[in-house]
Symmetry: C3
Subunit: 139 residues, 3 copies
């Protein structure tokens, strides 16, 4: 069984945002998969996806702090600066977690650990709505 | 052909550990796949997976040194500190390599390069046993 | 439908290189997939893959600057130094983006966003030709 779905994620501010429920709700056919995979691909280069802790907002706040510190906007080596100070750091941050994510599916839902959730990592100040392509396969 | 397997990885200290053989040994049905994919998902948020050099222990030692240096425990911006100094850095480190990994399968085994091995990246001092979900697909 | 392909990527200098067209051209069977996935695995531990901006060479230049700055060759903690100053940093850089990448396939080609392209991230000064295993699945 193969199916592909396009999901439009609402605009969010710079930061790390839990989107597990928003993605599941947009995938009614997930429920018919006994065993399989869900592949998620964000079609952008300044936002990305990762899996991390789903309970404490402070974890997501600290993600932003680390990424902003590790990929500084005022580094002297940036040359791609025409689109704003948050643009080139956003490209690098996006590749650190990556825009694609594959999750196991079992009994009609994502087989995630107790504390795992899907993060949308928004690296631009005004990134706008983000498009996600989800490919489901399995049986 | 689809199958899903749950593997319990033994507890290991903080650091980067080769687990290629442990994973292969737990997947007897791998041998029946001529061509396919093996998807590995670690069900945790403070440990992760990557592929890297399979020969020199010094490479794995240096991985730990870089990660500990790049994601410092004493950074002033951490706010999620209740679970210990190694907790929040472990979350960030886990997302830098990611908890999911997909490997090609050919002729009944992982199609890895000569020098490639699977690393369990344990970012906690006492992370305990780790659970891995492996989804095999192919023909 | 499953198929597996081995692609030899030409040698490139240290840096980030767009390879989308080179990969597509080596996959004639991609055109017969209506919906599916393309899994790419670079069989090395000092080069890697990512998706990022496909238009400005300055973005790719700045990727190199950030990676060289974040994983410095002269760090005092490196112990694996026998194979040259660029070797151990290359291993760490390779795991930051990862050597495997999964892309959605739709109507016979990669379903990438307008600005997305595939980067070969070459972290060695003289890495030589690189081998890529591509696994196509779908219907």
């Amino acid at each position: 069984m193969w199916s592909q779905h396009e999901i439009s994620l609402e605009a969010r501010p710079r930061g790390f945002h839990l989107i597990t429920r928003e993605v599941e709700a947009a995938l009614p056919s997930l429920g018919s998969l006994n065993v399989g995979l869900a592949h998620l691909m964000l079609q952008h280069t300044s936002a990305s996806l990762t899996v991390n802790e789903n309970a404490s907002p402070s974890v997501r706040d600290d993600f932003r702090s680390w990424f902003d510190s590790a990929v500084p906007e005022d580094a002297s080596y940036w040359t791609h600066t025409l689109e704003g100070a948050d643009d080139m750091p956003a490209h690098v941050k996006a590749s650190l977690t990556g825009q694609d994510l594959t999750l196991p599916v079992r009994d009609g839902s994502f087989a995630l650990g107790t504390w795992q959730g899907i993060y949308l990592c928004e690296h631009r100040d005004r990134g706008g709505s983000r498009r996600l392509i989800v490919t489901l396969s399995g049986e």
